[in-house]
């Protein structure tokens, strides 16, 4: 394996953001966004492992139909924690911290009146946590939107922005519009608990279905917060390893916006059997179908990008392949759920569980891992072991399908979610699923090991090991404390790979 660093100006002597200032304090109080990013990366990795640990315990319990490993209360806490940690570790890592202190067992959907009247644990505390994080995610979103509108580098027109930025713009939009609503509903829950006023509790005159409306108004769009950044990552990687510009740039860009906006119109599809009016159900169903279209457009454009490219099987690209397949399955099964007559049967069964794991693990996590491998050299200045990386990508793919595909089947057979004991005829599927989860766990352990290993022993990466386009690749790896010495001027479109000289196309052999 030869190193792309041969063309680099990187001399190892200059100060970069990793070496500028040592000590815990300089890290914790840092305002350099790259350091923040590293801290963020570490935090979410820890939370991912923690969420994974809960998942493994869930899977172990489900190995047999009887509830032999944990008590039902423990199991209920497990999946609640698993869901919360996994969902919110994507957004902001501080909610889980609050949750873990308290011990909540309401399910991540906090359904009233259950969450109020019967859950004697720390909903109040969680509420405060959500409020605080909510506020910070609002500020993040706000900051991002305004920055994009007003502070782009010269020449960086809207249609020259990397698609990653578009995706983030859409994400911020969702945070800006959705978070306040969930914040206020949590406040109402809080008031209800403290003052005993019946806002959602039917015993006092309230209506639990209203809570579901307010909750899903935020939480459906929030699922797109999880997938959109990954979609952005896919656009970056697929162009780089096809050595080709993206197919249908503006369609991909606008579909992100369409997803963000339409995403606010479909929340009722979580409530088809909640005693919501069936007419509202129909409206939500038809809109759900429409929000799927922009995702379809993206999938097809990514596929078309590979046409007549020069495909390089580097690890990040393998994750892209995985993403394309698994996201498509996850998305298509989302349509099953959006189809009214069918959702009545599969709602709150393992079919739903399989759907969102296909999208979130198969889609979002694959994107996250792809991005991690893609930018690892940039962040750390080191190359990881390609062979090990490829191996674990394959293991993850296999383990993933083994874990979650059986869940579609058992879901359609009628296995409800959040069950810790179940009828024996479902066991075979659960055994398969648990077996898959073990494979998956191994697959996730590998990157942990070889990435850490590369920090010490990996080859030096040079500024642009993939010969990638994009401003971040023009500066040394790891980047210096002040990103750019001079404000860069952008004169070309994003992903203009074809115009690169052929010999510069790629240095690392696949």
């Amino acid at each position: 394996m030869s190193n792309g660093g041969s063309t680099s100006q990187h001399n190892g002597a200059g100060e970069n953001y990793l070496t500028a200032g040592y000590g815990l304090k300089s890290w914790l109080l840092t305002t350099d966004h790259k350091r923040i990013a590293i801290l963020y990366l570490i935090t979410i990795s820890i939370f991912f492992a923690l969420g994974g640990l809960f998942a493994v315990l869930i899977r172990l319990e489900l190995l047999t139909p009887a509830g032999d490993l944990f008590s039902s209360d423990t199991y209920n806490k497990l999946f609640t924690m698993h869901g919360l940690v996994m969902i919110f570790f994507f957004l902001i890592p501080s909610i889980p911290a609050v949750v873990l202190l308290g011990g909540v067992d309401t399910g991540w959907t906090f359904y009233a009146p259950y969450s109020e009247a019967y859950s004697n644990t720390a909903v109040g505390l969680t509420a405060i946590g959500v409020f605080i994080t909510g506020f910070s995610s609002i500020l993040t979103g706000l900051n991002f939107i305004v920055t994009i509108h007003k502070m782009r580098a010269p020449g960086l027109t809207w249609f020259r922005l990397p698609l990653f930025v578009w995706a983030h713009y859409a994400t911020s939009l969702i945070m800006l519009l959705g978070t306040p609503v969930v914040a206020i509903s949590i406040l109402l829950v809080f008031l209800e608990r403290v003052f005993g006023i019946g806002i959602f509790d039917p015993a006092l005159g309230g209506d639990p279905v209203l809570f579901q409306h307010l909750f899903w108004f935020y939480s459906h769009p929030a699922v797109y917060i999880m997938i959109l950044p990954s979609m952005g990552v896919i656009s970056e990687i697929i162009t780089c390893f096809s050595r080709k510009r993206i197919f249908g740039y503006s369609f991909i860009a606008f579909s992100s916006l369409a997803i963000a906006i339409l995403g606010f119109l479909v929340w009722g599809h979580h409530m088809f059997v909640s005693s919501q009016s069936i007419y509202a159900g129909m409206v939500f169903s038809i809109l759900t179908m429409m929000v799927a279209i922009p995702s379809a457009v993206k999938v097809f454009n990514w596929t078309a990008t590979m046409y007549k490219g020069t495909i390089i099987y580097q690890t990040p690209m393998l994750y892209v392949f995985g993403f394309l397949g698994l996201f498509t399955v996850g998305g298509l099964t989302g349509l099953f759920l959006g189809t009214l007559g069918l959702d009545v049967h599969v709602h709150d069964t393992y079919f739903v569980v399989a759907h969102f794991h296909y999208i979130m693990v198969g889609g979002a996590i694959m994107g996250y891992l792809g991005g991690l491998h893609y930018w690892w050299p940039k962040i750390t200045g080191r190359m990881y072991s390609e062979a090990w990386a490829k191996l674990s990508a394959v293991i993850i793919f296999i383990g993933f399908n083994l874990t979650f595909f059986p869940q579609f089947l058992v879901g359609y057979l009628g296995m409800p979610r959040r069950y810790h004991v179940y009828p024996p005829e479902f066991q075979i599927y659960h055994v398969l699923s648990t077996a898959g989860a073990s494979v998956l766990a191994v697959g996730y352990l590998f990157p942990l090991v070889y990435l850490l290993w590369s920090l010490a022993y990996g080859e030096k990466a040079g500024p642009n090991p993939w010969q990638a386009k994009g401003l971040e690749w023009t500066i040394p790896s790891p980047p210096p404390t002040y990103n750019f010495d001079v404000t860069p001027v952008v004169t070309e479109e994003a992903y203009d790979y074809e115009s690169m000289p052929r010999e510069a196309q790629f240095v690392i052999e696949p």
């Binding site: 706000l142 900051n143 007003k150 914040a183 005993g196 019946g198 806002i199």
Partner: protein, 215 residues
């Protein structure tokens, strides 16, 4: 406000205009989140008002619409003086900026004062939800629900007023120390936008809470 270097352009901006526009847009984006937050409340309120119309009428009739109307007037006056303060800041008139800001604050305080009178009265009539709530009604818990919304909505609104007053007092002191110029007045402008927004919330709260079932 994004920056407090008076007259100085912070390093991530190219010039004063870009900086001002950015701050302004940021304020608008923030207000969108505020709209959505109050929106959640209005949606819940609307839901129950439709569902429990009679109880909400009853609850509403316990409110003193004259005080509500007076307060609406007071708030509109304060918006007016706020608009004049922004205008004065734009024109670089330090003294009238300060005077109008102070006037706005006085009106804001008057609003809160009247609100306090109303709250006290509710307290005396045992109309505080969850706190020995008592009302002669066929469905007291639904009337209580109305008052829960009344207090949550007006309370959140009052909180916004208080924050606004704090901001205004900072602005007064900045203006006092001559921090603003015709190039740099966006703190005043943005505080103005915020203040008007709070006014708008009240413009809806007033008829929704005080004026139902009066006919």
């Amino acid at each position: 406000m994004s920056s407090n270097h008076s007259g100085v352009v912070a390093h991530q901006f190219d010039d004063a205009v870009q900086q001002r526009e950015t701050a302004n847009l940021g304020m608008w984006a923030f207000l969108i989140t505020e709209v959505m937050m109050f929106g959640g409340l209005f949606a819940s309120y609307g839901y129950y008002r439709w569902k429990f119309h009679d109880a909400f009428v009853e609850g509403s009739n316990h409110l003193d619409y004259l005080l509500g109307a007076t307060n609406t007037g007071v708030l509109i006056c304060s918006s007016f003086t706020m608009a004049l303060a922004v205008q004065a800041a734009q024109a670089g008139k330090r003294k009238s900026t300060i005077v109008f800001l102070l006037l706005t604050m006085v009106l804001g305080l008057a609003f809160l004062g009247i609100k306090a009178v109303e709250y006290t009265e509710k307290y005396e009539h045992h109309l505080i939800p969850g706190h020995g709530f008592q009302v002669a009604s066929a469905h007291p818990n639904l009337v209580e629900l109305f008052f829960a919304f009344y207090f949550t909505m007006t309370g959140l609104h009052a909180l916004h007023m208080i924050i606004g007053l704090v901001v205004l007092s900072i602005l007064v002191s900045m203006a006092w120390r001559n921090r603003f110029s015709t190039d740099y007045y966006s703190p005043v402008e943005n505080a103005g936008i915020y203040w008007h927004f709070v006014d708008i919330v009240w413009i809806f709260l007033f008829p929704f809470l005080y004026l139902i079932g009066r006919s």
